[in-house]
Symmetry: C2
Subunit: 139 residues, 2 copies
């Protein structure tokens, strides 16, 4: 199944903007904000409205092409869904982001599931803390 068919199967359409938004997310090495997606699309095509970006990210998420994450506090970050799952470490001090394989979290996930019946999605939200470099500086 390609993007066009997947969209049509849900009564949606394949537009230029939609394709460009998906490509922008797929080409990004890491997580991108809606605003960054807009900039990337504008870099190679004409203009694109922020609202169009948001609407398309939502549509593509519904189809399972992209997912979003909340790193830090404010902004939503998007990334392709067909990557190996990973969790995020965000440094409260310098803002640095690091990725760790979800395998590091499987023990915790299992524990939360058995003791609380909670299916944790540990790739979704970041773990805040102090990164190695900042810890050295501070102490």
């Amino acid at each position: 199944m390609d993007l066009g068919s997947d969209l049509r199967a849900k009564g949606k359409r394949l537009t230029v903007q939609r394709r460009l938004v998906l490509e922008a997310v797929q080409r990004a090495r890491h997580h991108v904000t809606a605003d960054e997606v807009a900039k990337r699309v504008r870099g190679e095509a004409g203009q694109i409205d922020p609202s169009t970006v948001y609407r398309n990210l939502e549509a593509l998420e519904e189809l399972g092409y992209v997912t979003h994450t909340h790193l830090g506090s404010r902004v939503t970050r998007w990334h392709r869904a067909d990557m190996h799952q990973h969790a995020h470490l965000v440094c409260r001090s310098c803002g640095a982001e690091d990725e760790v394989p979800v395998s590091v979290f499987t023990g915790l996930a299992r524990r939360l599931r058995t003791s609380h019946g909670f299916r944790a999605d540990l790739a979704h939200s970041a773990v805040e803390g102090i990164c190695r470099r900042c810890a050295v500086v501070q102490s």
Copy 2:
């Protein structure tokens, strides 16, 4: 040391609003938003401006009386700092919040520290997922 002295020691002052904001957070059983703090203060005193609430929460955090957390995506939630530490589980489906003792996370914290040099503050951000009740309904 009481609030007044702590404040003065930092060149700050003890005002009615500041005391009311702190009391509102302290009396709250769980985490409250800045807006909820404002409502609580208004309930027992006259008006208070949102900006005053934000500025006071920040001041009180600096003094170590309160801390904040990011549950879910958007809003900042505040709570008293002198509680037992706990982490948060937030259900993506129904929004329910649950608290778990940080002890559940110590294994993970140790692992992140030794393998990545990362000092995780697992009480700071919530773990998203699906709670027991919603998991049953969905499947």
